[in-house]
Symmetry: C2
Subunit: 361 residues, 2 copies
DNA sequence: TTGAAAGCGCTAACAC
DNA sequence: GTGTTAGCGCTTTCAA
């Protein structure tokens, strides 16, 4: 960051104000912080002086230095915002976070990737004045950032993904939820089930059939947990296609791949690991002339609005997206208050809707 | 924000490191800042000591105080993130901003509204350690925040919306672009044209026919400029419906209202002031049994992807959404370098596609 | 190439 | 109620 302060002429400081008001700085400080008794007359004199000098209150940086708190909480967002915020789940997380943090007096600083790099710029991670940081799906490309932050002693709160030692986590039961979802499909008679997975690691530059070796190098537990849920419910391995992100276009590509075979080869159901992927799969299926759910059942995950599907409503696992952010926000507040919060596991709900039906034949 | 620092035992400071290395603090400082000559031997001793003590580099807050720079740029986002980030235009702005600011060493702090209030919490606006702030569509509910920031002496960069004295702006030619768009409709034979406008002021709690009194109290110039463009191209006033936000659902409501009349009363073209509103209008039209563009032409504004429309492609005004953010980011950098950047007006492009056609009859 | 000293602007003890 | 004093942790002259 650039060097010296520029802009408008030197701002007045508290001591100038105190001087102008004829009181001690400490007294003036009390006027602004409100944390101590000040006579009305004095208060007025100080405020008048502040007004006269155009003093807008204590310098936040000086105050932070003194108090050992910056009032800033970071959020690590691996991708470029343009992509990250296409995902309603990421947006909801942020929303929940601010809902909880803003009233507590904390601001949210984005530590995001950019076109040149996945993961936040190291320089920022090293230099941002953070009281704490929230990391979603940590692992993979976020790892360097996370370890820098850990080294710096910045308290870390995790949301889903890899568990880190000493990091309080907010998560959902990805495995259990997918087991339940898969049982629903099995009850409908589906046996040939394929999965479209989230990226197994960041950066999501890879797409294709998910083989064992690729699977072994996964750093994202979310995708793995959801995949295992399907397999455990079925009792055997399934064909899976790994997407390079969790968005519609990737689901579309995956759908075209998975549904290419003849009616007796291709899956009768596709389990997509996000609703957006599922939307893409539905689009692909329709292009291939398949009716949903008569010819193909499709399931999603998340429970977002899907206005892209016309009347079709996705069968999906609804997760409390905003609440995840809120819970993480509360953890931040607790940690900064000196507590060691317990991990939180939020509940999910299976929503059976019109995108699933009895297996064909 | 809470008081004292908590968490892991007191972090080592630069002076501890210097002491352990047997050098002066100032020398140790040079090792980390790299801004001065240090012998290799000394450097090594200092880094070793830092390693041994688990010192992760200079405290950002102390550094900021000394240097008079926090490395943080605020973005005022009037609404709750959950709504604001549904708008691809807002997301693209943020994306462009970070693209430009992250490499320059600045982080982005969100100053957003929340469920309880529109506009950022005053406490945050007063206490955040900002080097500068970017405000989109300032005016209305952001006004208090903006004036606080101004008072604090925080340099402000504006993106669209109300012009403020002394605030460098990034904008587009909303009026001119809409004139061109409307001419296209006129050439197609359209005479009965209705407009769906963006909210005329924040908070967007109002929806309904836009009458003169309401129009007179507008604080958002974007909606007004685009509306005037239509009127100036037509040479007369038009019926307009004010939406309470710029999203799909509002466009849908507006569409149902505007298209309720008989074929000879209802408009033959609807000019929506955002692509999302246009998508909603299209949905409404289809529900009412109207074919597009045979029975009704619909135009948007922005140039976002619209995967909600099937094969229909929106005729729209494409604006450089990300570039707006980049330009604003560059302005921030310039202002902090002591420059007084000139206002920037970015170009737009009319995209004629399949949602407009000859007027019926 | 290194060290000593000043001080960024503020708050929190403590004394009066 | 108000003033005095001592730093928060760092960078930056300036001198050696």
């Amino acid at each position: 960051m650039p060097r010296s302060r520029t802009g408008t002429a030197a701002r007045p400081t508290l001591s100038k104000v105190a001087e102008a008001a004829g009181v001690a700085v400490s007294t003036a400080s009390l006027v602004f912080s409100g944390s101590g008794p000040v006579s009305d007359a004095t208060r007025r004199r100080v405020l008048d002086a502040a007004d006269r000098l155009g003093y807008a209150g204590p310098d936040p940086v000086a105050r932070s230095l003194r108090q050992g708190r910056s009032g800033i909480v970071g959020v690590v967002i691996g991708e470029r915002l343009l992509y990250a915020f296409r995902d309603p789940v990421a947006v909801a997380l942020l929303d929940g976070l601010t809902e909880e943090l803003a009233p507590a007096g904390f601001g949210l600083l984005l530590l995001s990737g950019s076109s040149g790099r996945t993961g936040p710029a190291p320089e920022q991670v090293e230099r941002a004045p953070l009281d704490a940081v929230v990391v979603e799906s940590c692992g993979g490309d976020d790892a360097p950032a996370v370890s820098t932050l850990h080294h710096r002693g910045v308290p870390i709160i995790g949301v889903e993904g890899t568990r880190l030692p000493d990091v309080p986590m907010v998560s959902i039961d990805n495995h259990g939820a997918t087991v339940e979802l898969t049982r629903h499909l099995v009850e409908l008679g589906h046996r040939r089930i394929s999965v479209v997975t989230l990226p197994m690691r960041q950066p999501g530059t890879h797409r294709g059939p998910l083989d064992d070796s690729r699977r072994a190098t996964a750093t994202s537990t979310t995708g793995i947990d959801r995949l295992r849920g399907v397999e455990d419910a079925l009792g055997h391995a399934v064909a899976a296609w790994e997407a390079s992100d969790g968005l519609i276009e990737e689901g579309h590509r995956a759908g075209l791949e998975l549904l290419a075979g003849s009616p007796h080869q291709r899956p009768t159901a596709v389990v997509a690991q996000s609703d957006l992927l599922a939307v893409g799969v539905v689009h692909a299926a329709r292009e291939l002339g398949l009716r949903i759910p008569q010819d193909l059942s499709v399931t999603g995950f998340d429970g977002i609005d899907t206005p892209w599907l016309g009347d079709l409503r996705l069968t999906t696992v609804e997760q409390p997206m905003t609440e995840k952010g809120r819970a993480a926000g509360r953890m931040v507040v607790d940690v900064l208050a000196g507590a060691r919060p317990d991990p939180v596991m939020l509940p999910t709900t299976l929503r059976v809707r019109s995108s699933t039906g009895p297996a064909p034949e």
